[in-house]
């Protein structure tokens, strides 16, 4: 039972790190990045390649940095020029990017599933209240907790965090107060993309790597973001945790329906509250 809860935390934690990047970008720019899952996927592959050469910790760092850089590039070359357009335009352009990135990964790393080994240091398991649990999975939970904590502190105390929170509450008033979203968005989008890269790498030892893993996680994180309420950090956290648990208990008790449960949960939440758990605005 405890092991199940912990496994749910692992999955929920990974989902949270990916989803919170979407929330950050949505909060500031009011757009949804359909290529976000691809950033996660590229992060996993970059991590895979670097880990083969320079070890696991180097891989985590490099993947996060490379993806942060890619995020900055995405902001400057795509999101910024499109900000006056209908958000749907950005959706479709980033969807085009998704296709290109998936093809790119297929070209560089091949179509076959790749498996990244768990770092030797964490390959054992730990005993928790008499039940053994893989040490690596504990690390994933710890990283997710650190990201959640670090991010909420950053959002509270930094000026950029203030702008992001203000903008996600009311973009128009925020702009009228003289906040120039362009000046902070490079940092925010880079952070969101970097988190996608980070989660890609740390989830790589738990998943089979394939170019299509990006669209899978994209759909899952969309569910998290929609259930949580678009633009809400707390909502995304709660939704990721709930979906992590639901997903995991589903796999154990109703395996044939497990993949359906998050979707049903989403539809139920939307009937109950069309703007998500924490959402007062979309």
């Amino acid at each position: 039972m405890l092991v199940q809860v912990l496994n749910g935390l692992v999955y929920g934690g990974l989902l949270y790190i990916v989803s919170v990047g979407l929330v950050l970008i949505f909060g500031l720019r009011r757009i949804v990045n359909f290529a976000h899952g691809s950033l996660f996927m590229i992060g996993a592959y970059v991590g895979f390649s670097v880990a083969a050469m320079g070890g696991f910790w180097g891989a985590v760092l490099v993947a996060a940095l490379v993806l942060a850089l890619a995020g900055a590039l995405l902001d400057v070359t795509v999101l910024r020029p499109l900000q006056r357009e209908d958000p749907i335009v950005t959706v479709l352009v980033t969807f085009g990017l998704l296709l290109v990135l998936e093809n790119f990964a297929q070209f560089v790393w091949g179509k076959d599933f790749l498996k990244m080994p768990v770092p030797a240091m964490l390959s054992g398991s730990v005993s928790i209240f008499g039940e053994s649990f893989p040490a690596y999975r504990l690390l994933v939970i710890a990283v997710a907790a650190a990201v959640a904590l670090g991010l909420s502190v950053w959002l509270r105390v930094s000026r950029i965090g203030l702008y992001v929170r203000a903008s996600s509450a009311d973009p128009l008033t925020t702009a009228m107060q003289g906040v120039n979203t362009d000046r902070v968005s490079v940092v925010v989008v880079a952070l969101g993309a970097g988190l996608a890269g980070l989660s890609g790498t740390i989830s790589a030892p738990l998943l089979a790597l394939s170019p299509s893993m990006g669209s899978y996680i994209l759909i899952e994180s969309f569910i998290v973001v929609v259930v949580g309420g678009l633009g809400s950090f707390v909502g995304a956290f709660v939704a990721a945790m709930v979906i992590g648990q639901v997903h995991n208990f589903g796999l154990v008790y109703v395996p044939w329906a497990a993949t359906m449960i998050p979707f049903l949960l989403m539809v139920a939440v939307l009937i109950w509250r069309p703007t998500g758990i924490a959402g007062s605005h979309v």
């Binding site: 757009i31 949804v32 209908d86 958000p87 749907i88 335009v89 959706v91 479709l92 352009v93 969807f95 085009g96 990017l97 998704l98 296709l99 290109v100 998936e102 093809n103 790119f104 297929q106 070209f107 669209s215 994209l218 759909i219 969309f222 569910i223 973001v225 929609v226 678009l230 044939w256 329906a257 993949t259 359906m260 979707f263 049903l264 989403m266 539809v267 939307l270 009937i271 069309p274 979309v282």
Partner: protein, 336 residues
């Protein structure tokens, strides 16, 4: 010029045409006859196979495009309705519970009903979130089809045991590229005509008004949820027609017909062709198929190619290739 102005501008000729149902019927008849003559003139089975696939998918894209045109929202999940139609026939035939004609009817009704029920929940969700939701809902159905192996055969798919005759017509006719081209082409012509009539009707103009400003339409006193639900329902119905044709033609279904990449392709066709025109998405579908065919040696990179095309069209030609063509045509007519 905003997207809305452009949409109304493009819609104008359709309104003018509506004035005479006789002209519209004549146009459809001419298109159908032309299709028949064309199929008779072309010998190449390869070309007809390609075209038949393109036309069936064009009907799918037309449904997706109609939703963009009337509701201003982009669906990433229409394969759900398409695939549901395919699987309805496949499963009904597998268990032999009903005659094929009833199965076809059910294959049209079920996705339409699902779209209506779903629409009541999701049309209130604006813009970008709607796209995210349709993607998720569509993929839910895909997951279900791959997991329910005992019923659907999972990833292996199902061979559809069609009877010898469908609606009194030999089934082999539906699997002959030449004959099926004529059938699909005629269906496409009728669908485009019907959708043009809907778009030009008071209902079509009401939904266009809601698309432009939902709040204002509500203030004037219109109910704004139900019309949008009906547009979604109608677009799902069109998509289900395409699913039925696909199943009759291929006599095989696999979860690919539910996968989001099919929804995505249909969406890309609609965007490339120009969803502001009723016929734009169908035009886009045909271009898509020929471009894919021509890509030939580099099909491995087809996904990247189509991604780049999508980006370029979005950035440089938001009216789509069909829209650009229509503009040229009007300019030519204006001078002439």
């Amino acid at each position: 010029m905003t997207a809305g102005d452009a949409a109304l501008e493009e819609a104008a000729p359709v309104r003018a045409r509506r004035a005479s149902p006789v002209v519209a019927a004549a146009l459809a008849a001419a298109a159908i006859v032309l299709g028949g003559v064309f199929a008779g003139a072309v010998q190449s089975t390869l070309l007809m196979t390609l075209l038949t696939q393109a036309i069936i998918t064009a009907i799918l894209a037309t449904g997706v495009g109609f939703l963009i045109r009337q509701n201003g929202v982009v669906s990433f999940g229409h394969a759900a309705f398409y695939g549901m139609a395919c699987y309805t026939i496949a499963l009904a035939m597998r268990h032999g519970v009903m005659p094929i004609e009833a199965a076809i009817l059910l294959a049209l009704v079920l996705p339409t009903a699902l779209a209506f029920a779903l629409g009541l929940v999701i049309v209130r969700i604006p813009g970008v979130a709607f796209s995210m939701l349709t993607l998720a809902v569509g993929q839910a159905l895909y997951e279900f089809a791959t997991k329910a192996r005992h019923a659907t055969g999972g990833d292996d798919g199902l061979t559809v045991n069609l009877p010898a005759r469908v609606f009194g017509v030999s089934t082999s006719l539906f699997q002959d590229p030449h004959a099926m081209f004529v059938v699909s082409w005629a269906v496409l012509a009728l669908v485009v005509l019907a959708l043009a009539a809907v778009a030009a009707s008071p209902f079509g103009r009401l939904t266009a008004a809601i698309r432009e400003n939902e709040e204002r339409a509500r203030f004037i006193g219109y109910a704004t949820v139900l019309p949008r639900v009906l547009v979604l329902t109608l677009s799902a119905f069109v998509v289900a027609i395409a699913g039925v044709l696909f199943t009759l033609y291929n006599a095989f279904v696999s979860p690919d017909v539910l996968h989001w990449s099919l929804s995505g392709s249909a969406l890309i066709m609609a965007i490339i062709g120009g969803p502001r025109l009723i016929w734009g998405p169908a035009f886009g579908a045909i271009i898509f198929f020929f471009a894919k065919d021509m890509a030939g040696d580099v099909t491995e990179h087809w996904q990247a190619i189509i991604g780049v095309i999508l980006i370029v069209v979005m950035l440089l030609l938001p009216v789509g290739l069909g829209g650009a063509l229509a503009r040229l045509w009007r300019r030519g007519a204006g001078h002439g």
